[in-house]
Symmetry: C2
Subunit: 344 residues, 2 copies
């Protein structure tokens, strides 16, 4: 059972309903609780009979605006579809929540309602990315703009557990995103986090600093960064992939030979396009919460939203969150953080 | 006349000499003063007779290490090839300096030796990037890790002058890199810089916040950011371009049809590859200095280094720096900054 915020995202609620319908085909057992403007939602659902039969709609008048501050959302949007969807998870009425709405508000409301795991100061948003070697995970992707070094250390630990349980990597390598690999590069926060990860007893494979190009190169399995840099890297990568597709399109229009070449290579090219399609990687999971909460890109379409739903369903079906909670509990973040602090 | 730091960069001095030789072919009138280990340089020059005839070699024992702090470089590396090359510019013995060495040290030594323009607190590194619409400039790319809002406003002004004089754009649009386009996104420094650019009388076309994907999309002509985010964006973009080339390579090996298609489309594909080749965009120019100083990527090869030399030569041949100095002087940065501060 997934709880959906029907009103978040540029093309909502249309793409939410169409996305849910796509996900229903992929995951035949899934059911939805849909929160938002009941009239609009039910009008859309009329077009999808089968989807209708696995949906319950809950009305809400309130909407979390894209430009509302998280603190405002906490005070004034507690009856929004987004907020009610999160409450459904807390109450055990849904296994996870998915929203394409305001990231900061989703983070704040999830943190308040679902609570963080013991010792976790800030939940982080994580997602999976294609690399030259396969896939890597990166966090935080925009939930935390300013992070202290302890937060970065916790992100490293949560990301490592995620990579092991979701990507199935036995002993994931971890790197801190910086603007040079030398020890003295970067600001004080990053250098301190690196010292903690290097010198303390935290049981992860820390490989030091990595740079932006190391993300797609797959130099490490887990890239750790604050939400500002992480979001810049994520969006820049999406933009460059799009630029490449545009350049390809124009290149294949250059003369008859190129057009013919394109036709012959088309199936292979489609494989690349799918592999680098940002929609295929849509769905950022909040780590460090007592529940599954997934943020979809606000600008995505129904295909992208369906992928965010798949991310949530995978998390639930493979019991990933309980495993992460379990492992993080074993790590006793509080204690480790104290050790790490002492090591600096 | 260009002054070269022969010892900076992963493949130095080999790639510096080979790069100079490539540049000599492209720019037949160029001459070089080469600073570094005389024995190594002259051994390499033996292979390039014609290049030899336009080079003077100046010996230096000292080398600026990749991991030395800028403050250390200022105290202990004043007789390095890098430092002597910069001094040649100050003394009027060369029109510009190019180095692939330690960015922080190059920045610190250039700032000390060449001095900043009146009112400029921090020079910034700028470069040109390919976009869906043509080209854009971005600054800072890594010279300043922490920037206050006044520094960002100055970067915006310097970048605008650069875009007008180097890219020939009549009225360049300017955007501040952020993690959302809404006014309240980002940290205090960025929001304050945006307020200054929006509310003061600074004569530039400020379009507000842009995100990482807006860089390759070409949403604005000038992308303004601190050196940390700028470097992350730059390196991530390079990495994704490389990933795409790798994927293409493997896609075209999928079966006979793909191979044939590749052969037919090859000339068109080469055009894309050249267009996105990071080496073609190698060469970050320091803006805000009384002289031309260009930083090459440390990991580049001789082709990339030759492009950094071309950037410097273009700057010199088109009198770009005097024009920028002139325009910035007219803008009276001190005064504008005071107005901007008052506007917040």
């Amino acid at each position: 059972m997934l709880a959906l915020d029907a009103m978040g995202g540029d093309k909502a609620p249309d793409m939410v309903i169409k996305g849910a319908n796509l996900a229903r085909v992929r995951h035949p057992n899934v059911k939805f609780k849909i929160f938002g403007d009941k009239n609009k939602i039910e009008l859309l659902l009329k077009k999808f009979k089968r989807l209708s039969s696995v949906c319950t709609v809950y009305h809400s008048d309130e909407h979390v605006e894209d430009d509302i501050r998280p603190s405002q959302a906490l005070r004034k949007r507690r009856n929004s579809g987004m907020s009610l969807a999160i409450e459904a998870v807390r109450n055990g009425d849904a296994h996870g929540v998915v929203s394409a709405g305001n990231t900061g508000a989703l983070m704040a409301l999830s943190k308040l309602t679902l609570r963080t795991l013991p010792g976790v100061s800030r939940p982080a948003m994580v997602s999976v990315f294609p690399t030259e070697k396969g896939e890597c995970v990166m966090l935080d992707l925009g939930a935390n703009i300013d992070c202290d070094s302890v937060a970065l250390v916790q992100f490293a630990m949560m990301g490592e557990v995620f990579a092991r349980n979701v990507l199935g990597i036995k002993r994931p390598t971890v790197g801190l995103l910086n603007i040079g690999s030398e020890e003295l590069k970067g600001n004080e926060v990053i250098r301190q986090a690196a010292a903690m990860l290097r010198d303390s007893d935290i049981p992860i494979q820390f490989n030091g600093f990595v740079e932006g190009n190391d993300i797609p190169a797959g130099t490490v399995d887990v890239v750790v960064t604050d939400g500002f840099s992480g979001n810049i890297a994520l969006k820049t990568a999406e933009g460059v992939a799009k630029l490449y597709v545009e350049y390809m399109r124009s290149a294949f229009r250059r003369g008859l030979m190129s057009r013919l070449g394109f036709l012959l290579a088309r199936p292979a090219l489609r494989v690349i396009k799918d592999r680098l399609d940002p929609r295929a990687y849509n769905g950022g999971t909040f780590l460090g919460l007592n529940g599954v909460a997934v943020k979809s890109h606000g600008g995505t379409d129904h295909k992208g939203f369906a992928n965010a739903l798949s991310v949530a369903i995978d998390m639930i079906e493979h019991d990933v969150n309980p495993k992460i909670i379990d492992e993080l509990n074993k790590l006793k973040l509080d204690g480790v953080t104290a050790i790490a602090k002492a090591a600096v």
